[in-house]
Symmetry: C2
Subunit: 369 residues, 2 copies
Amino acid sequence: MNPQNQLLNAYKQTAYPLVGHGKRNLHILKHVLNEMDENLESDTYGTGEVIENFQKKIASFLGKESAVFFPSGTMAQQIAVRIWCDQKGLKKVAYHPLCHLEIHEEDGLKKLHQIEPVLLADKTRVIRLGDVVQLKEDIACLLLELPQREIGGELPEYRELQAISAYCRENGIKLHLDGARLFEVLPYYQKPASDICDLFDSVYVSFYKGIGGIAGAILAGDEAFTKESKVWKRRHGGDLISLYPYIVSADYYFNQRLDNFEQYYVQAKELASFYNQCHAVETKPFVPVSNMFYVYFHLPKEVIEPVLISMYEETGIGLTSYVRKVDETTCYCEVNVGDRYAPVPKERIQRAFQILNEKMSEIIGKKSS
Amino acid sequence: MNPQNQLLNAYKQTAYPLVGHGKRNLHILKHVLNEMDENLESDTYGTGEVIENFQKKIASFLGKESAVFFPSGTMAQQIAVRIWCDQKGLKKVAYHPLCHLEIHEEDGLKKLHQIEPVLLADKTRVIRLGDVVQLKEDIACLLLELPQREIGGELPEYRELQAISAYCRENGIKLHLDGARLFEVLPYYQKPASDICDLFDSVYVSFYKGIGGIAGAILAGDEAFTKESKVWKRRHGGDLISLYPYIVSADYYFNQRLDNFEQYYVQAKELASFYNQCHAVETKPFVPVSNMFYVYFHLPKEVIEPVLISMYEETGIGLTSYVRKVDETTCYCEVNVGDRYAPVPKERIQRAFQILNEKMSEIIGKKSS
């Protein structure tokens, strides 16, 4: 077995894996269906109570006029950007260099919609007002991701968002929110979702990240926008005869977990502080602003993997199932806090980090001696 | 209530609605999950046993090297056509004027892929070899739908398919099968699916029509083709983190119903013959070649609707939930035979058609007197 699989296996075998909500198995869906009336009729190509009620509910939660359920955020966001570009007659969108559309979608936006991205800011930080103001070319749409996942989940302050929004409105630029993890940042902003969404013309939220559903997304905006998005949803092949397996689970876990995000956020700050107490380990952000953060180990991947495995075996605590190489001296992983964290005895977590720290110190000591 | 809703309601209230497998409610999915191990792990962005095993199984059934599960046929077929067009460097596909891509997809093929369709044959009949040979322009791909749903589900003979396939291969034209209802036509051809699919370079099949699953499709072809289709699947937003709700139900109902299509076909022929014994009613095809056919009533929509409703109420047999206007003198509906047909007492069906015939004769008699 290669070391990568060894770490994954060791993580899976721990009594207390700390990341996320739990296993993504059939139980997640079965549990929801067992709570529901089996006579509930399927949605049919975007119509029917099951889809329409959920769309209304989330539109209202986000403070938007209307909402459409999509099978994926990839589909929803390309479509949002396309609508704004078509409306302005300009096929240009500005977003972060580590935007999902830029790095995870096989260039769908370019290949299917012929839309040209303008990259704002650099890979180490979030987009600021200055980046937008300094733009040398006109754009139809600006996309902001809250939190900026690929840099550990960083956030601009609310006042900066307000300023960006005001600037965009004055300058005829539509503002789109990649809110894949919007629920996760509400505790940081200490605001209802509608206060954030008010700043944006269109909003996408996901139901399988913090919410922990099976898959699926909502795209929200005004009535004319969502109406047009349904036409594009059909063109993309996303207007399925039945989306209810995703909808009923999104609704169920939304109800179940919405009030937990405050707790996940507090716990993420605690967990990050444990990491930051270890030798040659640091989190980004140093103090998390949501339930997620990145962990950087200042040791080579091949060195940290066996350290983690032996700590897992000794303590029964699993910190991560993988680490990814940054360069010859550093590797990292993403951590997000969900339902799994709370039930773990605190002293066992602390003991695990104590042992991790001892092992790290020993290695660093050897290296520098 | 308008007459259309009245017919739908009357149909729903019959003891024996004759069309399809049954209600599309949550039970369909719950029943499958109850049969399965809830510890089965979700697929993850196209990987994992649950998706890979099903893809292999259907590839083998279709006699193709490889297969990919898609959330929809709309997505799968646009992608198939795109791949063949890219390969030839020619953005032209030929298909029937009533092809799904032409009339049900909001022009996704044109708007997302800039592919120009060339319409073959006319709206009353299937594509013949002559239509292909007489093409005045080069095309990258020819799409054939078996059966041609929008004309009642008509089929070319197998020998004609062989001739078209041979012509396409000689002339560098890729042949794609819209096999949304492929399982449904195997009894007519009396051949294994692989004998049909051998004639085509790429094949799409659906799992929520005759199979009766929740949603989802398979696109099959050679390894290079399916590999490229996965890249486009991600671009379209169809590479969901979890497709298993569709996959496990597709697999379950595929196993359950595959051997029933012969029976549905025989029953469709019987049911069509009952229709054809009625005054001013005829089916297309006159003798069905699959489990489906269209029924034409040579009376105005407003006249036939109350006739059907009163017959349903008198007999407890529901023939159709709707009729659609063709012109001032004719309307039609689509009928497909599934699990619901077999358990209905034959004499009750015959009695229903007898009464329908009497009512039709009376009206026609009055009209002509």
